[in-house]
């Protein structure tokens, strides 16, 4: 097992290095070059010259890359063109919002997706199955932001059940020690604030959950269908195990393996999808900051966002692989 973990960790190094080369090339390919991209459109030639020598753009390429790598490791992406503050600080301030949103969406996707996928497989060919399959196909074809509009219009504008935008009621006073608003309310004993934050989370989380929900339903369904026909399930039935025991010990345990992989992969997709959802709901997380950054050509922000999300994605993938190895001994051997 230890060898497996070490081998997986070693695989991380070339991927992260490759990623940094890719990002380095991306920064250099930006319109006007990195100095222009860092300073924005209103930069004077003197300022550009100054930053070019500061960035060492007159040095050999490999030296520039090493410098870039050094800054990236320290998460130093320069100042955001939108706010003038260091990108890292801005991101840290906004990350809790996005993580809260992504987790809420994942919670919806898992809580609805796994039972629905299981039910669809168990009732293969019935109306429940057809509904689940059709729904999951629709889920991947609806643009997230279109779904977000529709949810916002129906539940916030027309019915007025839920707030239209933001993370919390602007009139309410609440302390935010952690930045996770739902948690903050619980920590500070202000349960009204928690409830307010949850209400603000529901619509964006629903919109964001559409794709992972669809994917989880499909994978669970396919996986359960596969496992049900395995020899070991027939053996379990033959030796007279109770249906409930077979389901728990043999079907679910094995069917959940591919599902865990997919759930892990979806987290990265959720973080990227947050760019669209947060923009619709003015949900002030990193996604919205990134979306605004795109409009204002705030390249330091875009660069920081891409690197951070990519690292999170790569690390999650690795954790998923490790968990997979723990759950399924067959993976460790191969």
């Amino acid at each position: 097992m230890l060898r497996f973990i070490v081998r997986r960790l070693a695989l991380l190094v070339p991927i992260l290095l490759g990623l940094s080369v890719l990002l380095f090339a991306w920064v250099r390919a930006l319109p006007g070059g990195p100095a222009y991209a860092l300073l924005g459109e209103r930069a004077t030639p003197e300022a550009i010259a100054a930053i070019e020598s500061q960035l060492g753009l007159d040095r050999p390429l490999w030296e520039q890359y090493l410098q870039f790598l050094g800054r990236a490791v320290r998460l130093d992406f320069g100042a955001s063109i939108q706010t003038g503050q260091p990108v890292t600080e801005e991101m840290l301030r906004r990350f809790p919002a996005t993580i809260e949103l992504a987790l809420a969406a994942l919670l919806i996707a898992v809580a609805v997706g796994i039972p629905l996928g299981y039910l669809a497989a168990r009732r293969y060919g019935t109306w429940i199955d057809n509904l689940a399959v059709t729904g999951s196909l629709l889920g991947v074809t609806i643009p997230i932001f279109f779904l977000a509009y529709m949810l916002k219009y129906v539940f916030a504008v027309e019915l007025g059940w839920l707030p239209t935008a933001g993370r919390a009621d602007p009139r309410a006073r609440a302390d935010h020690p952690t930045g996770f608003y739902v948690l903050d309310g619980i920590v500070t004993g202000n349960l009204d604030a928690s409830w307010d934050a949850i209400q603000h989370l529901i619509l964006p989380a629903l919109a964001l959950s559409s794709i992972p929900l669809a994917v989880i339903v499909r994978i669970t369904r396919a996986s359960v269908l596969n496992v049900v026909n395995e020899d070991y399930v027939r053996t379990a039935e033959a030796k007279g195990l109770l249906p409930g025991t077979i389901t728990r010990r043999h079907v679910l345990k094995n069917a959940m393996l591919p599902v865990t992989t997919v759930i892990g992969l979806q987290l990265g997709v959720l973080l990227a999808g947050a760019v669209l959802t947060e923009k619709v709901f003015a949900f002030s997380g990193v996604g919205q900051f990134m979306a605004d950054g795109l409009v204002q050509r705030d390249f330091p922000t875009i660069q920081g966002f891409i690197l951070v999300i990519a690292i999170v994605y790569v690390v999650i993938n690795m954790i998923v692989d490790l968990v997979y190895g723990l759950l399924d001994p067959r993976v460790r051997v191969s």
Partner: protein
């Protein structure tokens, strides 16, 4: 690695046990019998026909704003006999814009698919045919590209290339390159040990002939399935990029994604302006998804008989 294990299983599962011609014919037979596939094909058919004959179908030009005088702030004329889907805030016929929007969507989808698939297939063939260090190198590169979530990758590429339809197409194509490369490589590796390859090799047929005349055609079915699904995703992704302001810089271009984006400003007063382009995107993407999924099932030997 988990992804490689799934590659290997699909590769072995789709290794044809019968001649491929009969597999294709059988797949086609099952495809027309599947109501899901038929609905999908009808949707694709309508979408493609509308795109091709847009100037004949649309009653007006998509950029004609001669009905601006009928528009008041917060009040946009709804459906009428002259304007089936009403008029947008800039005084243009919505129906005509939806019809012409099909052209943009189809164009983006087809070009992005073609570019992405060609580059991906080339990389996949390189890795699958040569193996060894070429394979390692290509697959490491593919791993790196896949280590960024697709949408984010597309955003990065489009932001780098600047606001234009071309950059959207290239961005979506780039995201698809590693997907096609990995798919084809896995499939080709699965074919490598097949008896017909051994037979061809023992007959002294050159490596390139074996690769291009035998292995490649036999590895192609999952690529076709992926291609169909990619078209659907490309249409949805293009809308997403337009929403982030990365599409064409010309605001009068009739594009579903942009129409949907613009509709955000009038969401409370005229929600239907968002519904029309949104539905158009969903229906077009659904058509390709339905056909792609049915095709996958029809070609899967597990579902035979």
């Amino acid at each position: 690695m988990s992804v490689e294990t799934t590659d290997a299983t699909t590769a072995t599962a789709t290794t044809p046990s019968r001649p491929p011609a009969s597999l294709g014919r059988e797949a086609l037979r099952r495809l027309v019998r599947n109501p899901m596939a038929v609905v999908g094909m009808v949707l694709i058919g309508v979408f493609v026909l509308v795109a091709i004959f847009a100037p004949l179908i649309a009653p007006y030009s998509p950029t004609d704003n001669s009905w601006l005088d009928q528009v008041r702030p917060g009040q946009y004329p709804g459906p009428s006999a002259e304007h089936w889907l009403g008029i947008d805030p800039l005084g243009r016929d919505v129906f005509s814009r939806i019809i012409f929007g099909a052209r943009q969507s189809l164009l983006i989808g087809v070009v992005a698919l073609a570019l992405g698939a060609i580059a991906g297939i080339a990389l996949g063939v390189l890795a699958g045919a040569f193996g060894g260090w070429v394979d390692t190198l290509v697959m490491r590169f593919v791993d790196i590209m896949l280590s960024v979530p697709g949408l984010l990758f597309a955003i990065a590429v489009a932001a780098m290339l600047g606001q234009s339809l071309t950059s959207v197409m290239i961005a979506i194509a780039v995201v698809n390159v590693p997907i096609f490369a990995r798919l084809l490589r896995g499939e080709m590796l699965g074919q490598r040990g097949a008896d017909y390859v051994l037979a061809a090799r023992s007959l002294g047929i050159s490596r390139s002939a074996i690769v291009f005349r035998h292995v490649l055609p036999n590895s192609f079915t999952p690529v076709i399935v992926q291609g169909t699904l990619t078209l659907a995703l490309a249409i949805v992704e293009a809308a997403g990029l337009a929403f982030l302001g990365l599409s064409s810089s010309n605001p009068s271009t009739p594009e579903w994604g942009r129409m949907l984006t613009d509709a955000q400003e009038t969401l409370t007063s005229a929600p239907m302006l968002a519904v029309y382009p949104g539905l158009a995107i969903v229906l077009a993407a659904l058509g390709f998804t339905l056909v792609g999924e049915s095709l996958r099932e029809a070609l899967d030997p597990k579902f035979r008989r």
